[in-house]
Subunit: 326 residues, 2 copies
Amino acid sequence: MAVYTDVNEEQLSAFLTEYDVGTLLSYKGIAEGVENSNFLLRTTKATLILTLYEKRVNRDDLPFFIGLMDHLAAKGLNCPLPIQRRDGGHLGELAGRPAAMVSFLDGSWLRKPRAEHCREVGRAMAAMHVAGSDFPIRRANALTMPNWRPLWQSSRARADEVLPGLRDEIDRELEILEAGWPKDLPEGVIHADLFPDNVFFIEDRLSGLIDFYFACNDYLAYDVAIGLNAWCFEKDGSFNHTKGMALINGYTSVRKLESAEAQALPLLARGAALRFFLTRLHDWLTTPEGAMVVKKDPLEYLQKLRFHGQIVSSSEYGHRNEENLS
Amino acid sequence: MAVYTDVNEEQLSAFLTEYDVGTLLSYKGIAEGVENSNFLLRTTKATLILTLYEKRVNRDDLPFFIGLMDHLAAKGLNCPLPIQRRDGGHLGELAGRPAAMVSFLDGSWLRKPRAEHCREVGRAMAAMHVAGSDFPIRRANALTMPNWRPLWQSSRARADEVLPGLRDEIDRELEILEAGWPKDLPEGVIHADLFPDNVFFIEDRLSGLIDFYFACNDYLAYDVAIGLNAWCFEKDGSFNHTKGMALINGYTSVRKLESAEAQALPLLARGAALRFFLTRLHDWLTTPEGAMVVKKDPLEYLQKLRFHGQIVSSSEYGHRNEENLS
């Protein structure tokens, strides 16, 4: 599932001589991560994750991703720490791929998160936003509002194959979102993919965030909107208000949402739902039958999109502003 | 690739209370093993492999497999040690599957084994044969000579789709093997699947054998014959005599081959090649396009089958009997 490129012992031994990590004891491909090849390594000195960056990752973005993890870890955020090479850099080459190693983070992702976990996720997301505020490299979000129309064009003609009427519905959604998308909200480094499989817990304690390979500069509140989509819906498609409240309260306990951010939240959440709908629809229509990838159903996000379209105030997600609280 | 059944944190926590292994720190699906779902677990006390047995494994065989690992580990062989439950057993149930945990074994399998590694494999195989000699449970080999004809019948009609003339060629092979298969060689517990991915090394030192899920009672020399097929051919299909010699010498340094075993080796190796040819051919013809499994080319084993058909003496594999040495 997540080993696209295998590595032989000669290649790996040569690669490891570039680092001060001791001698190799074992390496195993791990069945997590969708974009890259990941191995769990044990050496005489450490337990590490080795990542080989596959084609879908732009090589020019690697200094941003790796630099960001380094920056956040230095600020005390629990995230993988890139291992420094003997030459001072963090990026090497292995089996013809750019490759890096990061520290192994204990914890597992939750298959069945509860509201208390959503609160922890909100807190950790806000802590990441604060810690990332002085990160000097910038990376534009390649999957935000201006990118949706070209993405939609690649699937639009075949959309009604997936669901009759889908083409017209998404046409309308896109117009609404383009017209109303906020122009001036607080920006910063966002994770942009903080789904349950990217957040580790040990028992009920959040132990770390992983997979920063969609991180970018965008509206901070857009990350919260992604979080609402990723954490607060049940399997049957219903929105869990208790979880929404927990995630937002967790977030605002670390970083307050400005009133413009709170006001924009329904539209941001609607946009986030469209973003995941569009990439899933694209993958759904273009992934050949039989590829060794689990196709994710785009219609899950159509349902979320429709839900957000009915929301008029962030209080419906569980947000409480100062006045409500007093 | 090798996580057919996912496990959630509630199921896993409940399962772990049956063991004295401490608290869960992390679990990750690992991309190894073809038949079962495997997870690497870290707890506050240990690093473990958790296996969920999928449908292809017969539940009635599990006491043999788990008992064998326990027996071999107790005899000092480096192999996974099944972890005992609080109730004294080794087998539990998780996510609707029979499940067991074994100790984590350091080491990695070699993508590019050399002759020196083949020698180590021969030694370890013989040590396993010796250590298994007093294991009390028996399991018949379900993939040895009498089973080949029914297996062949399931593919025979479509064989010429894979290669014209294949049907007639395998018909002849099967007749030769059925007529000449030895009737009275030393028997014992064999691994029956000791391919490179089931043997771990740390640098050039063999650190352990894994995956005993084809182990059974059969001719000991048949395991050597499987080893010759698994370790001593190059990617271009040529037989590496130096590796053959190393594997056999490694084996006989621990357990001598009787002259009847040595004499039978070419036919046993031919049979072993047919056995892997037939299962691969069956999978090739029955695995639906697009299943999340890498299909292995049966023709690799046709080439090996033809090679062994030309061999008249075990000395051609590198075996030296006492007289040769003196």
